[in-house]
Amino acid sequence: MTRLAPLFPAFSTAFGAIYLACMHFNIAAFVYYPVLGEWHAARIENADAGPPMFYYGWLFNALIGSAVFALAAAVIPQSVARKVWPTLVWAVPGIMLVLSVYLMRIWF
């Protein structure tokens, strides 16, 4: 955990953005059908399947995507990382929080 800890700011910076992109464009690693209690790689054509749930697929994508992003960001020199992450780590998720509310305006 201690060795991975310096990657956490990059992970958190990317997580919300990747999650929201996956949600908005509906890119889910898998779909859950609660009526059937089944997981599928994509939507299925079944009248009895009930409503699909993409949420867990979006979360999974965000988890994997931000982990890859954090590993890639590890190549950034420490001198630069120490300057950019302390701001990006709250600014990007903060914007994503506002954006998530904005994108849901269709319900109101």
Partner: protein
Amino acid sequence: MITFLLIVHGLLAVALLGAVSHQAFSVLWPASNKGSSWSRFRAVPAAPYVNMIVLLYLVTASFGGYIYTIYRIDIRELLEQLSIRSTVGLFEIKEHVSAIGIGLLPAYWYYWRADNQNLVTRKILTALVALTVWFGFLAGHIVNNVKGFGL
């Protein structure tokens, strides 16, 4: 069973709300003295709360994630049939805010480490985590008690 799980989810959320509120107020609005109850509320040592907040957040979100399946089948369908769109929308926002909050936890934990002296970042992350918890709590209660709110 769903009622039991919902109550456990709510109780965990109350514990998380208390912990995160104590911590957020203690760093954003530190108490200058310990005279009043309000000052004592803000005078707690904030750092020891971090691990418990992360744990409670993840456990509470896991319960919520499980209950969500039942909401999706039984509740949301009904709300949509009744055209109660604002309640569905509020729950959608709660779902996304919680997800972004989960993503914040690693950085939140990292910036609370004793060897990390980015105090401004620590304060802002604490405020954001508190915001997601408060929003999730209030939105969840409004959705759960939507009849009483008349939405």
